[in-house]
Symmetry: D2
Subunit: 342 residues, 4 copies
């Protein structure tokens, strides 16, 4: 029997992506969709690409009867999310896609997000949603915090290298090229087609991007000592995709082996042959991650490049993968869709 | 038990799209892939987005043992296709995606394609692949000829209007905006990103596009008299999608009713509310077609706009839909993937 | 000695385009720039591409001393423009880029723009700014009303055909493909890169676009009888450019001759060889217009395709061309920049 | 009196860009254009955006009478260029845009380009064309070797830092995001719109890109010791622009000061306020370079980001700037065109 699913915040891109993925999921059924400003609208009017699906209309969250709901995806803005989740039934399984429950330390949350957390007790309960590294905890979790999309890309490149002890922990540089859907459906001049297409530029440069909080938390825990990376995202004129170029110091062969070994049995993580490089186009529209490793003419340098779809594996696909685990389903259910190319 | 599928010409875009669709089709299994110049290569090297699938390597057609194959998709260039198909086993079910078997009249073929047809007897046998209008014949067919992508878009707009007798048959204008994947993986200067992005222009203007042969054949047969349309495609800087703007003379309400009635029970054809207009983005990556109808301030004028994905519904999705019928499967099997947006 | 120029509404795209063009104009100097919400900012902060120019900061209009100003470009939103211009010195030369003074008949203005005109007397004074057809009047004018960008594109296709009497006046269809900068710097979901890139769709379909008011006024005056065209614009994923495909009934050779003759001595209007088709990319960034004419296999049909840059020839370039005339300068001064390709 | 200019290899993008720039140059006149495969064609047929200019037709190089030519731009493929230039009159001033004369050491040339140099004596004569650093030598030169576009971008970021001694010479990482016109008009699958648009990927990763030869030569000469940088370019879906993100170790304020001081009097190089970041869109279509510097939360790290237009400042604009010097003209003549935005 199908599990009953609610999606809160369904009028944004990650909400729409969840609907797209669940549309062909054999074990889930969407029973409620919320959207504050667009409450009352048909989902097919908000997102015409979903009009063929027999979806419930958008409602306000308070109109949803959660008694029959097995799991709720929460695709709300951060800060809002913690308020909403605090008020939901305590036995409802929740996958949160916002930033609200990613950082376990309330002080770190306040440092990066600029105000105290409103649901500190839930913050403790939440399990970090990077599936391949928290799988067992996610299976048992009630509340899972989806990772930042950049944070996912960067961690797929670096975590196995820290685990294997093959790189210099004090010299990790992450240079990311980001598709624009990561910025959401925000009405900003720099996100207009007329301004974004045809070029690229860095943003949040200088160690200011909030996903650094996740890198700090995760890499330091893994290393057992503080690890700080240098991280610069660049906005580029495509809709889906993150390409993370990680510059590390270590033996390239050891770096390659650490990644290849760690991901050998992972369904969605593909380590390419040594020196082959990934492209975001080859994963767009899918839950797959392609990873390339190269050495350099300078000995002791390695380049690790990770490509993923920020909306899918970086957000909604990851969320669904986690929900599958939480509901006792096969982890890859509904997620084997091949990338769309060209 | 899964049907065994061969794809001839798998190194082009329509071949890759077939693989993408069949990847999640529960009743089909790909047993052979051919690619002349790329024979010997792994499909994942030709198309890295398909590397996670356990696909057979590309081979030359003559290396394929067709004895266990239930159906072959033929995604070869026109002219080549007729030579290849002529040499295939006569009991093999075939869906051809080329232009070779679309025109029933050898003289018409020669007129539009510039040389005599090399397999005239097969030309007679072939069933035209516009599923919603040739469904019963396709079910019984051995050889189905996929339609031109422009021809599909235009016919979805116009056929019901001819059937219902609601428009002036002598004044039909089709203005198309075409994504570039319709040109295939051709190495031409005008298809380079540097030259195509950022603008648009007409091509094959002046009644010279080969898909006119299909319009003539189909519309004239339907009307029982010669019908000629004026048709201008425009190349536009996107990868997937055809938007066909059809200017017709007739009562807009009658036009709307003819389309809405005709497609009411079709799974993939969605007629939008009157005056709502479709977008190619809302069908990209899927087998769905969105159709909008509007009147004008000038009485007796109607605008019908059809949006479809040229690679999917306009080509490989249509081919799979037909294959499903030919193999006795549910017509929509493997084709219910939702469009990808944004 | 340089003429002193003010640009009102300099924080929008047409304002920035005026600054770009005037930057290399030998006879003009920008002495004032206004921007309501961005008053106080440096122009180089609003538009970093202009930061190398020694431009005045943005101020509010009321802060500008117009006594030393020779000519003001008014690049404000419609409705605002009429209020602002009404309050400017009555001897100041003005080129208005808004819609406010394009329609000479107050009733037509109210019909298309939904409220009464606030400066009816100025409406009478204003000269319509389609340079090649109103050149002498523009030379003497104090107030020139820049045309709509679609209106310019359509008129370049059709006016000579009406003048020459070579087409059926009751069957003119204009199908336009429009770059997104024509929508201005508006914060709307459909103008976001994530939503606009990768596809196309019609807008203002069904005879509802306001530029129809200009077509009606101009074509009817020219023909000496009411002329109504059917006009559908389509938003397409590029920044600069309009491609107008005009479907007319008449002898293609006569159509070609009418255009070639009419534009033979025009600096910016290039009629391509018969059957050659223009591309927006070949005029982007410039004041040039390329025009192509083709016949059809259906006798008595002609296709006229016009390509221009909506921001330049369709708006700011046209404005500068008119300002040159009004100030007694060479019409093409500052406007001979070649298109940018690729 | 105008200087007489020949452009060899005018059918490629850098040739067309030279024509565009010279079109409004007051002191130059194009008297000959060569194009091997397109000899006999009108330039306006090869590049319709240049059709309004009264240009000579394309001819073969051997058809050109160089006796009246003051300067030739050589925009030919590398390897071809050295053969052609060797055969040109020895008193002809030449700006070569190929890679053939960038490396002074024949062994280095052979190492990076895979075969011995065919004009070693000219290699010695050639002056490296990075104008702001070789200005005086260029003024006296007969043969100037235009820099690689990536090499220009990287050197603008790093040279002043080496000169000022403010960074660790053994830890310089250059991560570039490159527009596709840098690849020229090459017919390759990965440059097709259908394949390049919508994503990004690294190329020539692992220390294999040929522009490394230029970095090695220039940085080592400057430092007086071997300097090797790690350099990875990424192809991104835009036509014009390079964004070079340089990760260096040094005090950010000292880094900023070194750049700001060095470029304070340069017309085309703009160092933005500290922590402000450049965008390729803000320089596209122009000869300007925008440079941003930021620190990091990790002390002793600095990020320098350089944006330039690869076709203009990275190639043809640089070439024209050098030609101006060689011909005794003002260095910025014909190059003050403002960037085109949006």
């Amino acid at each position: 029997m199908s599990k009953k699913i609610a999606i809160l915040g369904a009028s944004g891109y990650t909400g729409a992506e969840l609907v797209r993925l669940i549309a062909t999921h054999p074990g889930m059924e969407i029973v409620a969709l919320s959207g504050e400003r667009k409450a009352g609208m048909a989902m097919g009017d908000v997102f015409p690409h979903l009009r063929h699906l027999g979806l419930p209309d958008l409602v306000k969250i308070e109109e949803i009867d959660f008694s029959g709901v097995d799991l709720a995806f929460c695709a709300l803005p951060h800060a809002t999310s913690q308020e909403v989740i605090k008020a939901l039934p305590r036995d409802l399984k929740i996958v949160d896609l916002s930033a609200d429950f990613r950082l376990r330390d309330p002080a770190e949350y306040e440092k990066w997000y600029g105000k105290p957390h409103a649901a500190v007790e839930l913050q403790k309960e939440a399990v970090y949603g990077l599936t391949e590294f928290y799988r067992e905890a996610i299976r048992e979790a009630r509340l899972v915090a989806g990772t930042g999309c950049n944070a996912a890309a960067g961690q797929y490149a670096i975590r196995p290298l820290i685990e294997a002890g093959v790189i210099d922990l004090d010299d990790i540089i992450l240079d990311l090229k980001n598709g624009v859907s990561g910025a959401g459906r925000s009405l900003k001049e720099n996100l207009l087609h007329a301004e974004l297409s045809g070029g690229t530029y860095p943003y949040s440069a200088g160690g200011k991007h909030r996903h650094l909080g996740e890198f700090d938390q995760e890499f330091s825990a893994l290393a057992g000592r503080p690890v700080m990376v240098q991280f610069t995202p660049h906005l580029a004129p495509f809709n889906r995709g993150i390409l993370a170029s990680a510059y590390v110091k270590g033996d390239p062969e050891a770096v390659y082996k650490a990644l290849a070994d760690r991901y050998a049995s992972e369904t969605f993580l593909e380590v390419l042959p040594f020196a082959a490089m990934p492209s975001t186009r080859s994963v767009a529209g899918s839950n797959f991650v392609h990873i390339g490793v190269s050495g350099d003419r300078i000995p002791g340098r390695a380049l690790v490049v990770v490509a993923l779809d920020n909306l899918c594996k970086g957000s909604s696909g990851q969320a669904l993968q986690n929900a599958n685990l939480m509901l006792g389903m096969d982890e890859s259910e509904g997620l084997m869709l091949a990338p769309v190319f060209p």
